[in-house]
């Protein structure tokens, strides 16, 4: 293995051919400032210490590794789960927002903005903003504010303002556009707290760094459990932040890194190179280069792109990416629930579905597999119920 597969990007923010900084000139100074601020903070032991302390005291880190004995037996594998569902607000999203809000304070800014799809990243951002005393505005497509009313309410409870985005397809990608448009008007006092390993440099790298605590904890915990390096690490991929975070702990080991995309949002499997939201990456686009909407049962995977580092890892052959269809996901969610007493998020259920499908196939029997359990399924209960009852 290459000794530093998931190192920093080059000085133009590129991972191989991907990444970069495709933003309006108005945002260039903010991106450059952010890059400097992050570099400075991330090499400042006091900042790193504070980031870790907040994650520990406030967000409940380290999250445990849970052996999954009954599912393991069912599938003929040795399965372990990294329990990001137990982190505050119910997913890995909190790791990133705590890093970014601490950085916001350090940069002397008083406000954050964020995009959100189903609301997970929005709730996490509103949470961290409340904790740090920052004001917060979240952009959310109108389609999503309507189908995720409760998450809108949660953000408001946490003191955030939620802006319903009526442009374009009125979903996540338009919320990103709108957040970027807003950012142009307020870069001086506002940080754009992006929700995944995407966007212009330094975001993909910075978010990966903030999420890499998942992987570094997990590899140490597996060592302590006597498991050592697993044969494979499997994570679902929307923008790719939970995957990047867990992969980072295993990239320099002899472990297969497996990202599972939603079939209807499979930027690696079905996309092609392009530029969107400040980055060059793999995107779902039509024959003319217009960006296509992603369609997945899970709102968190409903993004037509993927973080540039994943595009690079795929091109470099270091990580493998597969797609799982909506039809496989509900069964996988039930399977984990009933065998292990953990209801995963629909996003996470994609990773479970792939493991269940490939046990004995792409995952040889007896393999040791770490599932990154990126989030809890409470948020999805109503939707899953409607699907199972044939109402959706």
């Amino acid at each position: 293995m290459n000794s530093n597969v998931m190192g920093p990007p080059d000085d133009r923010g590129r991972f191989g051919d991907f990444g970069g900084r495709f933003v309006p000139e108005a945002l260039m100074p903010a991106c450059l400032e952010l890059e400097g601020a992050f570099l400075d903070a991330w090499s400042d032991p006091a900042f790193v210490e504070e980031y870790r302390l907040v994650l520990h005291q406030f967000a409940g880190r380290p999250t445990p590794i849970t052996p999954l004995p009954r599912l393991s037996e069912r599938l003929g594998l040795q399965l372990y789960a990294k329990r990001e569902d137990l982190a505050h607000t119910g997913s890995h999203k909190i790791n990133n927002v705590i890093g970014q809000t601490l950085l916001t304070v350090r940069m002397g800014k008083s406000r954050v903005i964020a995009e959100t799809g189903a609301g997970q990243h929005g709730v996490a951002t509103a949470t961290a903003a409340a904790r740090m005393g920052l004001s917060c505005t979240v952009f959310m497509g109108e389609v999503d504010t309507e189908r995720q009313e409760l998450n809108v309410f949660r953000m408001e409870l946490l003191g955030a303002k939620v802006v319903s985005v009526t442009s374009g397809s009125r979903t996540l990608k338009d919320a990103v556009n709108e957040a970027l448009r807003e950012w142009v008007t307020c870069v001086n006092d506002t940080h754009y707290c992006i929700g995944s390993v995407m966007g212009p440099h330094p975001f993909p790298w910075m978010v990966r760094e903030f999420q890499s605590i998942i992987g570094s904890e997990a590899s140490q915990q597996l060592d302590e459990l006597g498991v050592g390096a697993p044969d494979a690490v499997v994570a679902c991929v929307g923008g790719g932040s939970n995957a990047a975070g867990v992969f980072a702990g295993f990239a320099n080991l002899d472990t297969r890194l497996i990202g599972v995309e939603a079939a209807g949002g499979a930027a690696v499997r079905s996309g092609s190179p392009g530029v969107l939201h400040g980055m060059r990456s793999l995107l779902l686009q039509d024959e003319f280069g217009q960006i296509e909407e992603a369609h997945s049962i899970s709102a968190g995977l409903d993004y037509p792109g993927i973080g540039p580092e994943h595009a690079y890892l795929a091109a470099a052959g270091r990580a493998e990416y597969y797609a799982v269809g909506d039809d496989e996901v509900i069964g996988a969610l039930s399977l984990l629930s009933v065998t292990e007493g953990i209801i995963p998020a629909l996003e996470t259920a994609h990773a479970v579905a792939w493991i269940a499908r490939e046990a004995g196939g792409l995952l040889p029997k007896g393999s040791t597999v770490l599932l990154n359990l990126s989030g809890r399924g409470d948020k999805d209960a109503a939707q899953v119920r409607a699907i199972l009852r044939g109402e959706a």
Binding site: G20, P24, E25, M28, S167, V184, T185, G274, F288
Partner: protein, 255 residues
């Protein structure tokens, strides 16, 4: 020096303030007639927006026009084809997002623009640092690469942009996406920085909504770009003569 720049420098040196109306290609069936009307109204160049699904730098008006254009099946290719039918004398400048060129192929795209009579291109999500490949493609096809400068751009960086931009330097008057505004914003400061930094013409855009604003902007720059205000008129169903009159009112104000 690109032909666009030769042309625009000559215009400036003649003492005439440049008027550059912006239209979204394909947003109405008769958009080509609007381009002609803009010319009749006194445009010195026309900025042709090629619609993109995710116009990150644009406000609601241009978003809406772009969406209508996309729904009408507008593509980079269709825009170029329709423009070929135009028997124009004055320069056309493409404005769109990078992905459309990238997807079309950079060399091929720049060639296609030139062939269609577009002699310059503004790509708002392509800052200096990312534009080498695109500029090379443009250079090979006599398409000018026009850069924007924002109020947030530090002076040293603004200077560098001035040395790189071709045709003119686009001074954005405010920290905002395209759309209506009522004041001059930071246009005077940005334009002054750019004029001090080099010799290229400096045009002011973003938020120029009325002839009075345009007049003020022209007083401290070499030209003005009128975008959302005109696009809004078109969205509201303007006839070609209304477009001509509207552009004419700006012409009168800045002359």
């Amino acid at each position: 020096m690109k032909s666009l720049e030769v042309h625009l420098r000559a215009l400036r040196d003649s003492g005439r303030k440049a008027l550059v109306p912006y239209l979204v290609a394909g947003s109405t069936p008769d958009w080509i007639r609007h381009v002609e009307a803009a010319v009749l109204g006194g445009a010195d160049a026309v900025e042709i927006g090629v619609p993109f699904s995710d116009p990150m730098m644009d406000g609601v008006v241009i978003q809406e026009a772009s969406q209508r254009a996309l729904e009408r099946g507008t593509t980079l290719e269709s825009v170029c084809e329709e423009l070929e039918s135009l028997d124009g004398e004055i320069p056309l400048i493409a404005m769109t997002y990078y992905n459309l060129f990238l997807h079309y192929g950079l060399e091929r795209a720049a060639g296609r623009l030139r062939q269609a009579g577009l002699s310059g291109a503004i790509v708002p999500d392509l800052p200096l640092e990312e534009s080498d490949e695109w500029r090379a493609a443009c250079d090979a096809n006599d398409v000018a690469t026009i850069y924007l400068v924002a109020p947030s751009t530090p002076t040293p960086r603004a200077r560098e942009i001035v040395t790189r931009t071709q045709g003119f330097a686009y001074a954005t008057a405010r920290m905002a996406v395209t759309g209506a505004a009522s004041d001059d914003g930071e246009g005077p400061r940005v334009a002054a920085t750019l004029r001090a930094a080099g010799d290229v013409p400096v045009y002011v855009g973003v938020g120029i909504t009325t002839p009075e604003q345009a007049k003020r902007a022209a007083s401290y720059s070499d030209g003005v770009i009128v975008g959302s205000a005109l696009v809004k008129l078109v969205l509201n169903g303007a006839t070609t003569s209304e477009v001509e009159r509207f552009v004419g009112s700006f012409r009168a104000a800045i002359d």
